[in-house]
């Protein structure tokens, strides 16, 4: 246990990185998921095929492969794009934090697309008709009527998506993100105690999962509070 001396603060900062990635990836996941679901439900054939392609690709490929591709592809692709407008630019790159967050958001977002799609289909048509009758535009109906109604249905499976997000963060250590698993590997290089270090990492992630699960329980209570009497 003494091996951990001096490493506690590194693990702490690693956990902060995990939390940061989680928040960023969560926002992006919701974005990708809603966009994907909207595309799949729209009448537009092109949008539907793109969304279908998106879900098939990102649900069928191993996460580690997506991360490695993003990591190696980002600098070259972005630099090439940037050099179109300004050839002087030597490089444009995104650090592992963003490459990783975007990658895992795309992956979990493809699952979220299906979840949101199912939830949107579960919104009572009566509510939509009422919104129409009141003269709300398509966009306003989407934001003020569909999303709140759908959110209640989507919450339980979305809780699982959030858990996937936090756990996929560990994979980003493979492309150099200095989160807890990365810290553990460096600690092992100097202390030679793999079991101790990895158990600490496991405990940290377990802590995060617990917080997320509890938050989902609270959110579910809040989302269903208007149904309490009806039950």
């Amino acid at each position: 246990m003494e091996a951990l001396n001096g490493w506690w603060d590194d693990f702490f900062w690693g956990s902060v990185v995990v939390a940061d990635v989680f928040v960023v990836a969560l926002i992006l996941t919701v974005l990708f998921g809603l966009t994907g679901a909207a595309a799949k439900l729209s009448k537009n054939r092109v949008a539907q095929s793109i969304a279908n392609g998106y879900t098939i690709i990102f649900r069928g490929t191993p996460e580690i492969l997506v991360l490695l591709l993003f990591y190696f592809g980002s600098a070259i692709t972005l630099t090439a794009i940037a050099q179109i407008s300004n050839p002087e630019i030597k490089y444009v790159d995104i650090p592992p934090f963003w490459a990783g967050s975007i990658a895992i958001a795309l992956i979990v977002g493809s699952y979220a697309t299906e979840t949101f799609r199912g939830a949107f289909l579960g919104v009572e048509p009566g509510q939509i008709e009422a919104a129409r009758a009141l003269g709300l535009s398509n966009f306003k109906t989407f934001i003020y009527v569909r999303i709140p109604a759908m959110w209640r249905l989507a919450l339980p499976p979305f809780g699982n998506h959030m858990l996937s997000l936090i756990k996929d963060t560990a994979l980003i250590s493979i492309i150099g993100l200095e989160e807890t698993l990365f810290v553990a590997e460096q600690a092992i290089a100097t202390t030679g105690k793999p079991f101790t270090m990895f158990i600490v990492v496991g405990a940290i992630y377990l802590g995060f999962s617990t917080i997320i699960t509890l938050s989902v329980v609270v959110l579910e209570k809040y989302a269903n509070q208007h149904l309490k009497i009806a039950r």
Partner: protein, 231 residues
């Protein structure tokens, strides 16, 4: 960015040589994991605290920590402990293959048991009551009434999980196993051509997951043939 097609043509057979390893990892973990999941499920719904408490704790831990961390703890961490090196399990834990199967099995077992439990909970209570009214014992009710329906209900979620399992086998490459991902990383390390190799590997995984999905879809269709489909 020119694609080196000759390299792809050369590498695909090499990567496919790892297919058996990938398949074995996936298949063995799926079967053993299913057995473990059934045991956990029975413990979970037994109603006896000394059975369901450990089961819940196990599921909580294995679903709450990243699979990569679990793999590392088993492969790198266990040998740090004296009693592991001297136990009868050491021959299995010595080999990365044994460690990978163990980690994948323990992980998928936790997830599948929850999926099965969701299926069991989804069985209409009326059916169970009818069974009781007919004089069937609770074991008989479970085997002949609950299980077939629970399995059918759980199939969609189960198919998602075994596809996830297929993707998780790629993580075995981090503990020296030469599955398809391991071979791909070795080729990339020697040829410095990440895009060609990783993109073609992605396509291979896509084909594999597509096959799994279609197969389970067929099983689902067959099991639901008596259910009237919604117009």
């Amino acid at each position: 960015m020119i694609f080196d097609f000759a390299l792809i043509a050369d590498s695909i057979p090499k990567m496919l040589a790892g297919f058996w390893m990938t398949f074995e990892l996936w298949f063995l973990s799926a079967v053993l994991g299913l057995a473990l999941a059934i045991i956990l499920l029975l413990m979970r719904i037994s109603g006896r605290w000394y059975l369901y408490a450990p089961a819940m704790a196990y599921i909580y831990i294995f679903r709450g920590t990243p699979i990569l961390v679990q793999i590392f703890i088993i492969y790198h961490g266990f040998p740090q402990l004296e009693f592991i090196r001297e136990s009868i399990f050491w021959p299995i834990l010595r080999e990365p293959y044994g460690c990978a199967i163990l980690a994948l099995t323990l992980n998928t077992g936790a997830y599948v048991s929850e999926i099965l439990r969701g299926g069991v909970l989804g069985v209409d209570r009326g059916l169970k009551e009818a069974g009781a009214a007919l004089g069937l014992s609770s074991t008989h009710r479970f085997i002949y009434i609950t299980s077939p329906i629970a399995i059918r209900l759980a199939l969609p979620a189960y198919s998602n999980d075994i596809i996830s399992l297929m993707k998780s086998t790629a993580l075995a490459s981090t503990i020296t196993l030469l599955d398809m991902m391991g071979i791909a990383r070795t080729i990339v390390a020697e040829t410095y051509a990440p895009y060609e190799i990783f993109l073609s590997l992605g396509v291979i995984y896509l084909i594999l997951t597509w096959i799994i999905q279609k197969s389970i879809g067929l099983i689902e269709k067959r099991m639901s043939r008596h259910v009237r489909s919604e117009a």
